[in-house]
């Protein structure tokens, strides 16, 4: 599963050369990560694809020095934002002067909310979304062990008033990655980013 982009110019610039906008053909990896950290998740714009842990690698191809290989681990299988995220990633690196980019999808290890940075969790809370708790280890399949959300949900704090007097309304909120809760203290509804 790769997604190759045709060069923007008829001929790719030589190494070290600058395009008419003054961009290097091989911007530093640091500059690339910085640019990608500005790409928001379209459904949770408060956090970037880097902070979410979706972006797993950025490196130059071993054979083609002007080909940038970006490795991405998508969140949920059916997440409708995935294709837009891929497009935004491509646009972000092309804007820095990268001539060719290939986006690779890596499925294993599967994406987990444990990859989310502390900064991302703070931003989520400020945005009004309760950040995910630690991912429970799957235990034996019984009624209790099969329910990651019910076990984690006991400690979900309201992102508005901080109360832990909260209640699960539905396992799925505005998107597959969030559950719908309500706060019994301030009575506000809110989304909880599910541990995954």
């Amino acid at each position: 599963m790769t997604d190759a982009l045709q060069p923007l110019a008829p001929r790719a610039p030589a190494m070290g050369a600058a395009d008419p906008a003054g961009n290097e053909a091989r911007p530093s990896l640091g500059a690339l990560w910085q640019a990608l950290d500005a790409v928001p998740d379209p459904e949770v714009p408060a956090v970037s694809v880097v902070e979410l842990g979706i972006l797993r690698g950025v490196e130059w191809d071993a054979i083609d020095p002007l080909l940038l290989v970006v490795t991405v681990t998508p969140t949920y299988s059916g997440c409708p934002a995935t294709e837009l995220i891929m497009t935004s990633i491509r646009e972000a690196v092309v804007a820095l002067g990268v001539a060719r980019v290939r986006i690779e999808t890596r499925l294993a290890p599967a994406w987990t909310t444990d990859w989310m940075t502390t900064e991302a969790r703070r931003k989520l809370r400020d945005f009004g979304i309760a950040p995910p708790g630690a991912v429970p280890t799957p235990s034996a399949v019984d009624v209790a062990g099969i329910s990651p959300l019910r076990r984690a949900g006991a400690a979900v704090a309201c992102p508005r008033c901080g109360s832990k007097q909260t209640q699960l309304v539905s396992q799925f909120g505005s998107t597959a990655c969030k559950a719908h809760f309500r706060c019994l203290a301030c009575l506000e509804p809110f989304d909880y980013f599910k541990p995954h």
Partner: protein, 259 residues
């Protein structure tokens, strides 16, 4: 079947893994905008989206394996939209009509409990791609079975009317559950090779979970023992053809159409 190569067996097995979530996703799609309450309309649609995403991964891999053994190999779209009902390998359970919300919930719960166990078993597959897809999908299925189990309890232990509808739904669908634990002819060699999951080993834990939820829900597992078979070898109930007519109409009427 004895003449099939390993890749040919794997291709058929991957169709089975992909077709069940695909067909169930299509059924759940029929509920969009018609859920009993807004939250459940959204939740059910999200479950359908997860299943559709999983089906895409399985069918894309099926196409890659097909290319290794014959012809050019089809992509996920060709496999989903251009096969006839006799070529689909999904469980009979998932093609059953939506019926009432109780019927849909019973179908979902019986499937979800099996699906999670299957995916957790497949996460240990010797085939790295199968293991990767399954490990990812299992995390999603854990939320599905929690939700559908909650609804079985809520309706079963609800009003007299909701209890009666939930029990009737389970009684109607029970005959389609045996197939989930019966390996098809292509499965034994793949099980032996450590690639496929041995579904016979899932029966006991599945029943344990179903019984526990039913007990809380004041529902009863039917005594009936006759089980319908055939989905995995392409012998379907009358409902699949009608479902495919709707799902495939665009590609059949406008071959190759894209947007």
């Amino acid at each position: 079947m004895g003449r099939m190569t390993r890749d040919e067996q794997l291709f058929e097995y991957l169709l089975h893994l992909g077709d069940s979530p695909l067909i169930l996703a299509q059924r759940l799609g029929e509920w969009v905008g018609r859920g009993p309450v807004l939250e459940e309309d959204i939740a059910q649609t999200n479950v359908g989206l997860d299943l559709l995403g999983q089906a895409r991964l399985w069918l894309s891999y099926a196409g890659e394996v097909e290319a290794r053994c014959r012809r050019p190999g089809r992509d996920e779209d060709a496999l989903a939209f251009l096969r006839e009902s006799g070529q689909f390998r999904n469980l009979l359970l998932v093609e059953q009509p939506n019926g009432s919300f109780a019927d849909t919930t019973a179908r979902q719960f019986l499937f979800d409990a099996w699906h999670l166990l299957l995916l957790r078993a497949l996460a240990k597959s010797g085939d790295a791609t199968i293991a990767g897809i399954a490990a990812k999908a299992a995390k999603e299925a854990a939320y599905h079975v929690e939700r559908s189990g909650d609804w079985v309890i809520r309706l079963g232990d609800g009003t007299e009317d909701s209890h009666a509808k939930m029990q009737a739904a389970i009684d109607d669908l029970w005959t389609y559950t045996g197939e989930m634990f019966t390996p098809d002819a292509i499965e034994p060699p793949l099980i032996e090779a450590g690639i496929a999951a041995d579904v016979r080993s899932l029966a006991a834990p599945w029943r344990q979970h179903v019984d526990a939820v039913f007990a809380t829900a004041t529902l009863k597992a039917p005594d009936a023992t006759f089980m319908q078979q055939g989905g995995k070898r392409g012998v379907h109930t009358e409902h699949l053809g009608h479902l495919l007519a709707q799902m495939q109409v665009l590609q059949r009427s406008h071959p190759g159409a894209r947007w």
